[in-house]
């Protein structure tokens, strides 16, 4: 009898779960934080994007990463490019029912900068906290230390918190009158105005979200009102959950093979988009023999791009230059550069013209420990260069050590294989951040590239307010850089994600995290 009862209860549970209408998203990295001043990785970014509203939002519905209006209804930039004035949308409500105002925007920026974690580095040195002014209830003004064109794109990482709620919930801390700036409170609670409210949060297993009825963008039928954001590390388990229909969508971090298998399932869509990421081999332009442009050209022309893309990356688009193609598309532009192509005859000729004896060239190629794609790419380059008579030695190096090596000219390696994701939705990220002398010393500037003309163009671009003129300058700079061969630009790899066919509205714009905003999805069963 007891046994029968048990079976009955088990059956009830089984059917009970089969008919539930939850939207289940699977993520393989844990949700480290839901505090919008602390997030750095994709999963915590997902949490923050769904619970809070950023000041500006990428134009996801147009498929573009260019920032558009959101909490900020409009903005103006002073002629010298240093003063930004934002008009805040009226009537946005926080989850506790109070209204979001300019005061909250200013407080959010100050909190981000004071805590010095997460994305605060975007504004470090650019903006001093005392230069954030509330002009009236719906107007806020930021005065920058110098003109900084990517300022608005960087604001996609400024999420607005409810100042009054946080001030009521301060704990002891090292920030004077602000105590701990509400860090303890925001560890498990929210102070947002976003489309969803967290109802349950367990860092390593589950984030449960429920729709916020008074959300300012309103709700339509078929939108998702209840989300189970589950953390599952094992790829095989993720696959079983997707194939059995126990999950609606999964993250981008699985191996290409898993997406390949899922694509065979008639009920599952696997979406592939070129990512806003650059995979390239930086060449140290300051040390012989790579200080000779003809040697760099010869190496770039010897490399087999097609094999790298087809056999190693299993599909990708070839990089046209340092700026990922997606980043130009965001601003309605085509790249004006065309990358490099393999041409062994040309490579041999260039090497001859350089006057350097190929048999005297021995180069080191550094790549991070465990980077199998970087290792295979290195082996490919090794065999390509052997045809020119150049020796290449592969060195697998811990990532922390590569960062250290890049900090001084003596230790910077000859060639390094680097994956570089767009830091903010603007070409400036991969131009100023990689080719302005002030950036030298990081893993992004192993080329140690210096060209006064490019330096001048980049500085001019940053302080140009007119967007079109500004983009022209950035494109001109990229053309000059590509002509100098500081890197072997290989590819913008693929971003893959899988979901059930009945999920609609998914749009990848190339900006980390913003593709998984549950508000954008509709369920059509």
């Amino acid at each position: 009898m007891k046994f029968k009862m048990l079976i009955l209860i088990l059956l009830l549970f089984t059917f009970g779960s089969a008919f539930a209408q939850d939207f289940t998203y699977l993520e393989s990295q844990e949700v480290t934080t839901i505090d919008p001043a602390l997030h750095t990785d994709e999963s915590s970014l997902h949490a923050v994007i769904n619970i809070y509203d950023p000041l500006v939002y990428p134009k996801v519905d147009e498929g573009l990463m260019e920032p558009g209006q959101h909490v900020a209804e409009s903005w103006t930039i002073s002629e010298d490019g240093t003063t930004y004035t934002f008009k805040i949308r009226e009537g946005i409500k926080f989850h506790d029912g109070t209204e979001l105002t300019a005061e909250d925007v200013a407080f959010s920026m100050q909190r981000l900068q004071a805590l010095q974690k997460g994305f605060s580095w975007l504004f470090e040195g650019v903006l001093d906290p005392e230069n954030v002014k509330v002009l009236d209830k719906y107007t806020v003004e930021f005065t920058l230390n110098y003109p900084y064109a990517p300022f608005v794109p960087a604001l996609t990482q400024l999420f607005i918190v409810n100042k009054d709620l946080i001030m009521e919930n301060l704990a002891e801390g090292s920030y004077g009158e602000y105590g701990d700036y509400g860090q303890a409170f925001l560890r498990t609670n929210d102070a947002g105005s976003g489309p969803y409210i967290p109802v349950s949060y367990q860092r390593a297993s589950l984030l449960e979200l429920e729709s916020f009825d008074d959300y300012w963008r309103g709700w339509e039928e078929n939108q998702i009102d209840h989300v189970l954001y589950r953390v599952v590390e094992e790829g095989a388990t993720i696959r079983t959950l997707m194939e059995s229909g126990n999950a609606d969508m999964m993250d981008q971090w699985q191996t290409p093979q898993i997406y390949e298998q899922l694509a065979n399932n008639p009920d599952i869509t696997v979406q592939e988009d070129p990512s806003a990421q650059l995979f390239h081999l930086e060449m140290n332009t300051q040390r012989a023999p790579l200080d000779n442009i003809l040697v760099r050209k010869a190496i770039a022309h010897a490399f087999d791009y097609q094999t790298a893309i087809d056999q190693i990356l299993l599909g990708a688009i070839q990089a046209t230059g340092p700026v990922p193609v997606k980043a130009w598309e965001a601003y309605g532009r085509e790249p004006t550069v065309d990358g490099y192509h393999q041409d062994l005859e040309l490579a041999k000729k260039e090497l001859e013209q350089s006057g350097v004896d190929p048999s005297s060239i021995e180069l080191t190629y550094v790549y991070p420990v465990g980077g199998s794609i970087q290792r295979m790419t290195g082996l490919l380059l090794q065999s390509n260069l052997a045809q020119l008579g150049i020796k290449l030695e592969l060195q697998e190096t811990p990532w922390a050590r590569i960062v250290e090596m890049a900090s001084s000219p003596e230790t910077t390696p000859d060639i390094a294989a680097i994956y570089d994701t767009l830091k903010y939705p603007h070409p400036d990220s991969h131009l100023f951040g990689m080719y302005h002398p002030s950036a030298i010393g990081s893993y992004r500037t192993i080329s140690r590239y210096k060209n006064p003309e490019v330096t001048k163009l980049l500085e001019e671009a940053r302080s140009t307010v007119d967007l079109e003129k500004q983009l022209d300058l950035y494109q001109r700079a990229e053309e000059l850089i590509v002509a100098d061969f500081p890197s072997i630009y290989i590819a913008n790899p693929m971003h893959r994600i899988a979901f059930q066919d009945y999920v609609e509205g998914y749009n990848y714009v190339g900006l980390l995290g913003y593709d998984v905003a549950f508000y954008d999805f509709q369920i059509n069963k």
């Binding site: 934080t33 390593a204 590390e233 079983t240 059995s244 922390a400």
Partner: protein, 335 residues
């Protein structure tokens, strides 16, 4: 010496052992290569950010000073700030340890209630087809990797048949948790639906975890019982015409179990060690998966706390086993 005195002495002996463990793991965790602070703040973090965070964590202090601060914190129940969760590790432990212990205890119970009877059955029916069958099952039980068995169970039992959930621990018990063990909390609040829900979620991961230990216990019980069956007093019982079943259960089992008990203690430790693979496959929010992530992120405070807690649990399990010896075999005296 009485049992209580023995217990107190053993507990006092735990302190220097734990201190030694702490000393070792504290310095090991700090000399690991790579900068964990930089790692925690992300590759784009600036020097200023890293320095500020390092200061906040007290990592700019000399090593001996950090150690003293840590020990002082320990006496107040603090394990230091986690680099990943940015909260005190004790909070993380509270959230994750009960899940693992619950899984391990249930697995241990499964291993005992399946393993010992199977072993006994083989010993009684030695060299029969029953013995052969259990031998095959036992050897495969030990040989098959847990994570692989887990994935197969997910595909066949959970996904295809829909009998059990594929992942997770279930929704838990409404309201404040009392012990953190879902099953116990459910029983304490007389919430039987939640109790069965918790068991239902536990079934597959606990079985997966228990499988190799069940097999080991079965093999050892068999060997131990066969040894006991050879003893002369068993022969005497047989000669008197006592029924074989009564001999096995009543006279032989108790003597055979002392050896098995040693293995039960070791089994507990091995279940804790092996929980990580099962936790990862079943997305079980336990401390083993937490610790594995901590090692990858060089989250040293979490690593130290995990080592200490595992050490303590292991020592306590040994103590309990030693006490159980005395109950099973009156000849064992504490001294």
């Amino acid at each position: 010496m009485g049992t209580w005195q023995y217990i107190i002495r053993r507990v006092i002996q735990l302190v220097p052992t734990l201190l030694g463990l702490l000393l070792l793991i504290f310095f090991l965790a700090r000399v690991m290569p790579g900068d964990p602070v930089k790692l925690a703040l992300g590759p784009e973090s600036s020097e200023e950010q890293v320095e500020a965070f390092r200061h906040q964590l007290g990592l700019d202090q000399p090593l001996w000073r950090q150690f003293i601060d840590y020990v002082v914190g320990l006496t107040q129940g603090k394990f230091g700030t986690s680099l990943r969760t940015l909260q005190d590790v004790s909070v993380d432990v509270q959230q994750t340890l009960p899940a693992t212990l619950e899984l391990v205890f249930v697995a241990l119970i499964i291993a005992i209630i399946l393993g010992i009877p199977i072993g006994l059955l083989s010993a009684i029916n030695r060299d029969s087809w029953i013995d052969d069958a259990t031998r095959v099952i036992s050897i495969s039980g030990v040989a098959l990797p847990r994570f692989w068995v887990g994935i197969l169970l997910q595909i066949w039992i959970a996904s295809a048949l829909g009998l059990f959930p594929i992942i997770g621990r279930g929704p838990g018990i409404p309201g404040e948790s009392i012990t953190g063990f879902y099953t116990i909390d459910a029983l304490l609040t007389l919430n039987f639906e939640a109790f069965f829900g918790a068991l239902w979620h536990l079934a597959l991961p606990a079985f997966t975890l228990a499988l190799p230990s069940t097999a080991q216990l079965a093999r050892l019980t068999r060997a131990s019982m066969i040894e006991v069956f050879r003893q002369q007093y068993i022969l005497v019982h047989r000669a008197y015409g006592v029924r074989p079943r009564k001999i096995a259960w009543h006279y032989a089992l108790r003597n055979g179990l002392t050896v098995v008990l040693t293995l039960v203690g070791l089994t507990f430790a091995s279940l804790l060690e092996n929980a990580v693979l099962v936790e990862v496959v079943f997305a079980w929010p336990g401390i083993s998966a937490y610790a594995a992530d901590a090692v990858l992120a060089k989250d040293f405070n979490a690593i130290i706390a995990f080592a200490l807690i595992m050490g303590l649990t292991f020592m306590l399990a040994n103590l309990i086993v030693d006490l159980l010896y005395g109950m099973l075999d009156p000849r064992v005296r504490y001294g």
